[in-house]
């Protein structure tokens, strides 16, 4: 028995050894064997296999080595052995990206692709298209068109797929093959039909009308291929998504009919599309019941597909998912942990408060077995629970703390920390426990960025706790143990305790003085800076520089500084003109999804500052104060789409008109805007858009000066788009001969309101004291009757009008809106509005305090 086992072992080794310890130098030498005649197919196949295997293992060849090997391989075209020839093609494809002069084999491949041997033709087409360039393609175009409609499905598919690859580089050429491809859609072979549809639809992707025609036609014809049907469902869904009107009904009907298809692939595709398209729960019923069946399948892939799609529904239609509760319950103990996680998180999102503890227990039993992606899904679900059931914070927080202690990537840890931070901020009862968990976490946190963030939160929230001193120990430990950035953050956090809590100040002074001897410059600087401010005993100074520090947007600050040095280096720089970074408070409700997209958060100001650079003399206007949200000036689905973006400067206003030409047979030239400014405004200049081709956005800029009297700044501008139309070829985009003709297009009016000119913010904790201090400033006060019946609605409307976030609203019976802001010339203001409802109407008392009386009255005028 033992000898048998040894035999087996040896046998295994011998099989594997051929491919073990392969080395490219030896192989290069072996490849010389390809030159010998007559070719020995068996031996050459063996060598080629080794070469491809080596490349597949990730071995890198130099260009010279690759070229040598490539040329040796081409010698093998002499042999007629099918297997050998096929491996030669494979090798050509592998080497084509590394070797030089690969087009040398074009003629051999062309011969094979037009030859009689079917086993060569398909593979030769694919190999040829992977090495050829656009100039060579012209020569083989005729053969390609023939191959597309060839009766051998392998040849036809090969040609179509190659056409699809080529359409990325030479779309115009491929477009000429569309007629042949169209014929192939109706092929009996499922793959040919699938590939043909992709080529045809791809060639029309910029032309909505003909895509509509294609989808409508094919939706009525019996497509046999499940793959082609999936693709068609995707196109139909895309059309339906773009067009929300009645006209999209036929697409949805088609997709629904696919729910009854016999192939599971198509059924799932349709159900997924419906779940993401349908707005009302009633329409979803069919799709949901299909997914429900999937959840009960014996195949894990089907169960995952079902559970995942249902999970996507939870945020939009929790009730539609609630009916599947029983099916999801069955999945909790699923052997596939991904399925189980999705089931539990979906149940958590839709279930009742009473079931939470049971589900949490379930999930913690397999938390260690699932991948980070799913752990993040769980964390997000818990986050939603925290705000939905605040009373459950105790068990949720301890669960999160347990997760923090486990292994995990930075994204996972960030998600957990974010959730605890949200808990601390939203739920006063959970504050102390949450902070304690965070403290414990930074004791052992290897991610600098995360530690810095948590220290910042501790500095902000810690002083408000009942026993602030207990946090200081944790923070100060960081100063002793951590790297520079973390120490610096810890110093800032400690300083905030000293600033907010008088009784701790002596101790904090001692701690800060110890940090003044730190090795790191930043840490030392901060310690000295904060000590000096704390020593000054000036409440206002401490308030502005330790507790409520406004953080300017770094990108805009840099730009403003460089502009400042270039233009007026002698004058003092006013940092308050730089827009501050807005903290993102209103986080969108992300549906349960296993997908991580990291989009950097870029403020509008940053986004547009690049574009604004083309306006001549822009640097003379000073730093940008604010960029408002774009406003549509045209109806959607019109010939030309125009959006207006208002850029506010200290004394100037730039209106940016973003124009989009949606007609593919026109090019617009000399596009400019005729403005009819409100009284008091002076037009200083305009930057027209010289050329506006189809589907490319272009911008027209108008520079205006604000009237000196703030009250006069409220007004509306008439606007008309003026341009010269030139007709052009819809496919090539080349303009026809001739001059073109002038035309105009009316736009909606642009309104300059009061909110545009203020950078507002929600009230901070110190709003009350600021308001009191402002009592000496000019005050404007008036009472208004509002049209809304409901006091809540009225409050939201007022906030919107004043540009304040919703967080500014407080109070129950009497709504009080508090806020503050900065006018474009740098004048601060504070605003308070009290709303009372009585006898079916809402009355509002609005009070504004500002050092400048005209600013205060401006706000009142804006509401009135």
């Amino acid at each position: 028995m033992s000898s048998f086992r040894r035999d087996k072992k040896e046998e295994e080794d011998s099989g594997a050894s051929v491919f073990q310890n392969l080395d490219k130098t030896t192989l290069l030498q072996e490849s010389r064997y390809f030159n010998s005649t007559p070719v020995n197919p068996r031996k050459c196949i063996h060598i080629l296999t080794k070469i491809i295997y080596l490349l597949n293992q990730g071995e890198k060849l130099t260009t010279q080595e690759a070229t040598d090997m490539f040329f040796a391989t081409t010698k093998l075209f002499q042999s007629k052995d099918v297997m050998l020839r096929r491996l030669v093609y494979l090798c050509i494809k592998e080497l084509s990206s590394m070797a030089q002069d690969v087009i040398i084999v074009t003629s051999s491949l062309t011969k094979d692709m037009t030859g009689k041997e079917d086993l060569y033709r398909a593979a030769a087409i694919r190999a040829l298209c992977s090495i050829t360039d656009s100039s060579m393609l012209q020569a083989i175009e005729r053969y390609m068109k023939q191959a597309i409609v060839d009766k051998n499905p392998a040849v036809s598919s090969a040609a179509l797929v190659s056409a699809l690859h080529l359409s990325a580089t030479v779309p115009d050429l491929v477009r000429r093959w569309v007629n042949d491809a169209q014929e192939a859609i109706m092929s009996d072979n499922i793959m040919v039909s699938y590939h043909a549809l992709a080529v045809v639809a791809g060639a029309r992707k910029n032309d909505r009308l003909s895509t509509v025609k294609l989808v409508t036609k094919l939706a009525r014809s019996p497509l046999r291929s499940p793959y082609a049907l999936c693709l068609l469902v995707r196109h139909a869904a895309k059309l339906a998504e773009e067009d929300q009107s009645e006209a999209s009904e036929p697409y949805l009907e088609f997709i629904e009919s696919c729910l009854r298809h016999k192939s599971e692939i198509v059924v799932y595709e349709a159900a997924h599309a419906i779940v993401n398209l349908r707005k009302s729960a009633r329409d979803l019923a069919q799709a949901v019941s299909v997914l429900q069946i999937f959840c009960g399948s014996s195949k894990a892939t089907l169960r995952l597909a079902g559970a995942r799609t249902l999970a996507q529904l939870t945020s939009k239609h929790p009730n539609a998912v609630a009916v599947c509760a029983v099916d999801l319950e069955n999945l909790i103990s699923d052997p596939n942990r991904s399925v189980a996680t999705l089931a539990v998180t979906t149940l958590l999102a839709t279930g009742a408060e009473s079931s939470i503890d049971r589900l949490m227990k379930q999930i913690s039993s397999f938390m260690s077995e699932i991948s980070d992606e799913f752990k993040i899904v769980v964390v997000r679900a818990i986050r939603r629970l925290c705000s939905k059931y605040p009373r459950k914070h105790q068990s949720l927080a301890s669960f999160l703390a347990g997760m923090l202690r486990e292994e995990g990537g930075v994204q996972y840890k960030t998600a957990i920390a974010d959730t605890i931070i949200a808990l601390v901020e939203e739920n006063p009862d959970a504050k102390e426990t949450g902070l304690a968990h965070l403290c414990e976490f930074i004791e052992d946190c290897e991610h600098t960025s995360l530690a810095v963030r948590i220290l910042h939160i501790l500095g902000r929230e810690g002083p408000k706790a009942r026993q602030p001193s207990r946090y200081i120990r944790y923070i100060y430990n960081r100063v002793i143990l951590e790297s520079g950035p973390v120490r610096a953050a810890a110093v800032s956090a400690v300083a905030r305790f000293g600033a907010s809590r008088e009784e701790l100040l002596p101790n904090i002074r001692v701690l800060l003085s110890r940090c003044q001897l730190d090795d790191d410059d930043e840490v030392r600087d901060r310690a000295i800076f904060y000590s000096a401010i704390l020593d000054s005993n000036d409440r206002q100074l401490i308030e502005d520089y330790i507790i409520n520090v406004s953080v300017p947007n770094p990108v805009l600050l840099e730009k403003a500084l460089s502009d400042h040095i270039a233009i007026q280096p002698d004058e003092p720089f006013n940092i308050s003109t730089i827009p501050t970074t807005e903290e993102q408070n209103e986080s969108e409700d992300v549906p349960l999804q296993v997908e991580i997209s990291n989009q950097p958060v870029v403020s509008r100001e940053e986004l547009y500052s690049e574009q604004l650079k083309i306006v001549p003399g822009i640097e003379k206007l000073g730093p940008i104060f604010k960029t408002c949200e774009p406003i549509d000036l045209t109806e959607p689905e019109t010939e030309y789409r125009v959006r207006c973006v208002k850029h506010i400067f200290t004394r100037h206003l730039i209106l940016q008109f973003e124009c989009l030409n949606t007609l593919n047979d026109q090019i617009l030239e000399k596009v400019h805007i005729r403005l009819d400014p409100a009284p008091g405004y002076v037009i200083l200049g305009e930057v027209a858009c010289e050329k506006l081709p189809y589907d490319k956005q272009g911008s027209v800029f108008c520079v205006l000066k604000f009237p000196t009297n703030p009250i006069e700044t409220l007004g509306t501008f008439g606007a008309t788009l003026e341009f010269v139309v030139r007709d052009c070829d819809s496919t090539t985009g080349l303009p026809d001969a001739g001059e073109g003709y002038a035309d105009t297009y009316p736009l909606e009016e642009v309104e300059i309101g009061c909110a545009d000119q203020f950078r507002t913010r929600a009230p901070t904790d110190e709003w009350e004291s600021s308001w009191e201090r402002g009592a000496t400033a000019a005050e404007a006060c008036d009472t208004f009757g509002l049209s809304q019946n409901d006091v809540n609605e009225a409050a939201i409307a007022v906030c919107k009008h004043l540009g304040l976030p919703k967080a500014a609203i407080g109070g129950d019976a009497i709504k009080e809106i508090r806020g503050g802001g900065l006018w474009r010339e740098g004048t601060p203001m504070l605003v308070r509005a009290r709303l009372v409802s009585g006898q079916g109407a809402v009355t509002m008392q609005l009070t504004v305090r500002s050092p400048r009386e005209d600013i205060a009255t401006l706000l009142l005028a804006a509401v009135g």
Partner: protein
């Protein structure tokens, strides 16, 4: 961490570039064959191998068919000492990926005359490479029907003419064919 392009909305993209990668690993998690089709996903051999190691660690014990890893949906299947994987975007129809995996496994299984194990696979590596090439071309599913894939991969089953085979070999192959026809 791998990021698969940002997708606005949750609908599937109407694209044919569905397969992001396919691989066959042995029971130590070493690569036997692997192809990755998207330049933006795992561009270097080093990243690919790290991903494969991670994938193998997560899948070799739990036989759960499908896993989401590093922004990719991976469907898998194993037999004796071989692991077959097909990877797609996490935002893709899982069932299509599953159909590709089935095609891969079945074709290899036919090519190896149902002896799906490492030693036999290495002996027939050339044919398996061709099958790989016939299933997926640059991320586009070329064919998903095992019989036609094997046909196109120019199967070398009869490379020794019948007359030259020993009686034992003929009997062996007949027996095997009979066995499989009965098992089906």
């Amino acid at each position: 961490m791998v990021h698969t392009g940002t997708m606005e909305g949750a609908l599937f993209e109407p694209t044919l570039y569905i397969v992001k990668g396919m691989c066959i690993l042995d029971n130590d998690g070493n690569r036997i064959l692997a192809k990755y089709y998207d330049k933006n996903i795992l561009p270097t051999a080093k990243e690919q191998k790290a991903f494969e190691k991670n994938l193998f660690n997560k899948t070799h014990r739990a036989n759960a068919e499908i896993i989401m890893l590093d922004g990719l949906t991976c469907v898998y299947k194993n037999n004796v000492d071989l692991f077959f994987y097909v990877m797609g975007s996490s935002h893709e129809n899982e069932l299509i990926l599953q159909s590709v995996l089935n095609a891969l496994y079945e074709s290899v299984s036919i090519l190896l005359r149902r002896n799906v194990e490492k030693r036999v696979l290495l002996d027939n590596l050339d044919a398996v490479m061709l099958a790989f090439d016939e299933i997926c071309d640059g991320g586009v599913i070329l064919d998903a029907d095992p019989t036609s894939i094997v046909g196109r991969a120019a199967l070398r089953t009869e490379d020794v003419p019948l007359g030259e085979q020993t009686v034992v070999q003929v009997l062996q192959s007949a027996k095997e064919q009979l066995k499989w026809s009965l098992l089906k």
